[in-house]
């Protein structure tokens, strides 16, 4: 590998869906490196290639140009080491299966060959449910879950295998503010154990914890999290962004975090002017060894 410890490395990746392929590329010359301890938020408009980028990392799509290396190998070879929480999980809610059944499916790649899951699979699945605070749902039919519970169960499924990388696609689509808050907390805790890539049209709910933000609209540019300003966002969305100014007293201004991190605000939430310094400080403070890249970019910014 080029960089020691790079978990994901994309170099000059171009992708376009058939039949147009590269005459209508969705991804243009995308370079991306994700190191251990990274927590990357990818934002961009619909159709900008966010989900496509994830599918390239997962190995579901092969780029027409460029190279992809994940965990030091081809994505197809290592996909079972990637925890993936899809945007619209095409999970069949009418299927006769319990939450535990669903979560154990995350262990298919590491479990033994026979028809049943072994005890260690069940234990790992239960541990994953514990981590997402959904262990009490284990015996529920999957149809009987609320939106927020389902999202947590899907994260548990992603964690149940021996995931070395977690990818989430729009994890807060269709869940309301107080569930967002819980997810923020959960993802923050998880980010201390493995690199996370989170794709969303709006990452403000988790902005304080992100170490880097990538803006993707066919082309991808990465920023240290605190650099992302209203201008950057407006440029990417062609100026059609409506910002919400959250007052400090507004419950949405602070998505809440059990770790007591101060709230910087980012992207569509414009608290940056006031809290920018504190925000970047907290991001560095909360980071692991992976913030080398942030420090570099910080230096460059200054």
């Amino acid at each position: 590998m080029a960089d020691d410890g790079a978990i994901v490395e994309l170099k000059g990746v171009w992708y376009g869906y058939p039949p147009h392929a590269l005459s209508m590329p969705v991804l243009e010359d995308v370079d991306l490196q994700i190191g251990p301890g990274d927590f990357l938020g990818v934002i961009g408009p619909n159709g900008g290639g966010k989900t496509t980028l994830l599918k390239i990392i997962l190995g579901f799509l092969r780029p027409q140009r460029g190279t992809v290396s994940v965990l030091g190998g081809r994505p197809q070879k290592v996909s079972r080491r990637i925890g993936y929480v899809p945007q619209n999980a095409r999970i069949d809610l009418a299927a006769p299966a319990s939450v535990l059944d669903v979560v154990r499916m995350g262990r298919l790649g590491v479990s033994s060959w026979g028809c049943r899951f072994g005890r260690e699979d069940t234990e790992a699945a239960m541990a994953a449910l514990e981590r997402t605070q959904t262990a009490d749902l284990a015996d529920r039919p999957i149809a009987h879950l609320s939106g927020g519970q389902r999202q947590r169960v899907l994260i548990a499924r992603a964690l149940a295998g021996e995931a070395k990388l977690l990818l989430l696609d729009e994890p807060t689509a269709g869940v309301d503010a107080h569930i967002e808050r819980g997810l923020t907390d959960l993802l923050h805790r998880l980010s201390e154990r493995m690199p996370i890539v989170l794709v969303s049209h709006d990452v403000s709910f988790i902005s304080r914890h992100l170490k880097r933000v990538a803006c993707l609209n066919h082309r991808l540019t990465t920023h240290a999290a605190h650099e992302v300003s209203a201008e950057v966002i407006a440029q990417m969305y062609h100026g059609e962004v409506r910002m919400v100014q959250h007052e400090d007293s507004c419950p949405l201004a602070d998505p809440g975090c059990a770790h007591g991190c101060p709230a910087p605000g980012l992207g569509p939430a414009p608290g940056r002017g006031a809290a920018g310094g504190a925000g970047s400080g907290s991001m560095r403070g909360g980071g692991q060894e992976g913030d080398r890249s942030i420090a570099d970019e910080d230096d460059a910014a200054r």
């Binding site: 997962l58 579901f60 996909s79 079972r80 990637i82 993936y84 899809p86 999980a89 095409r90 999970i91 069949d92 009418a94 299927a95 006769p96 299966a97 319990s98 059944d101 669903v102 499916m105 995350g106 262990r107 298919l108 790649g109 479990s111 060959w113 026979g114 028809c115 049943r116 899951f117 039919p141 499924r157 295998g161």
Partner: protein, 288 residues
């Protein structure tokens, strides 16, 4: 009704008929729940009707070219055609999933029409065809029982190996693929098992009505159990009831036992649907 068991001493076919029903129930109970879960009821129909084409081809070849194809029995033709259908459907699903329903409909119709055409051009074979289309549980030879035992053993053995992957693909294909499960081969395994189940059911209800026995008991069981294993158990029990109780009840009457079996499965399913939706309405009422 008592005459059925009274006559059993004299008529060995009554025993083999019951055995055939019970063996078919095992196959249905094991595979039916997957068919329901995977929403492939339509595919079962296509496989069954392709098997009709196989029967027609086997009969035609055996009569027209007795030297080359004299060994080709109709059941063998059905097995080959059903397996070809399973492979074709797996390939179609893999390559052009979005045109799936049209292509499957075409296979369904083409299989059936080939079968009917070829049988029409085969002299003197029309009555026996009826027993393949509509079943013949009254006269089940021991050779058929042996074939069914083998089929059930293969189906049960395959499930012991593949259950986990089959359920994974039923639940969420994308996640299964991520975990290194081959969607194509898992689908193929399931379709081949469905094809074998269809063959096991020919004698009991016939190819036309296979659809009913493979799906109705499993769908009924799905109303009362929430996980796959209990659904399998319950649908096997239901199937066993459907293949024996109506058979004994209509014995000695002019009603054909094969139709009685399917009718019983259908009526129980519809009653279950009605009871369930009534119960749901009652549960929903106090809440609103």
């Amino acid at each position: 009704m008592t005459s059925f068991f009274h006559d059993m001493a004299d008529n060995p076919f009554l025993l083999t008929g019951l055995l055939a029903g019970l063996l078919a129930s095992l196959a249905c109970g094991l595979i039916g729940p997957y068919v329901i879960t995977r929403r492939m009821v339509f595919l079962v129909g296509a496989i069954a009707h392709m098997a009709v084409g196989g029967i027609g081809a086997a009969v035609f070849l055996a009569v027209k070219f007795p030297d080359a194809f004299g060994w080709l029995s109709p059941v063998f033709g059905a097995v080959i055609a059903a397996l070809i259908a399973a492979v074709l459907i797996a390939v179609v699903y893999d390559r052009l999933a979005e045109r799936m329903d049209t292509l499957i409909g075409a296979m369904w119709a083409i299989g059936m029409s080939i079968g009917i055409l070829l049988i029409k051009f085969t002299p003197g074979y029309h009555t026996e065809l009826m027993s393949y289309l509509f079943g013949n549980i009254a006269i089940v030879p021991w050779s058929q029982i042996r074939l069914m035992v083998v089929l059930v053993a293969v189906i049960a053995g395959a499930l012991l190996v593949f259950h986990k992957r089959l359920l994974a693909v039923c639940l969420d294909e994308e996640q299964a693929a991520l975990q290194g499960v081959s969607i194509f081969s898992t689908n193929l395994v399931l379709l081949v098992l469905v094809a074998l189940t269809v063959i096991a059911l020919i004698q009991v209800v016939g190819l036309i009505l296979v659809l009913a026995l493979l799906t109705l008991p499993a769908a009924t069981a799905g109303h009362y159990a929430r996980r796959l294993a209990p659904i399998m158990l319950l649908s096997t029990i239901l199937c066993m009831a459907f293949t024996t109780v109506p058979r004994v009840a209509v014995y000695g009457t002019a009603i054909s036992p094969e139709s009685a079996i399917v009718l019983a499965a259908g009526v129980v399913y519809l009653v279950s649907v009605a009871v369930r939706s009534a119960a749901m309405r009652r549960r929903a009422a106090p809440a609103t």
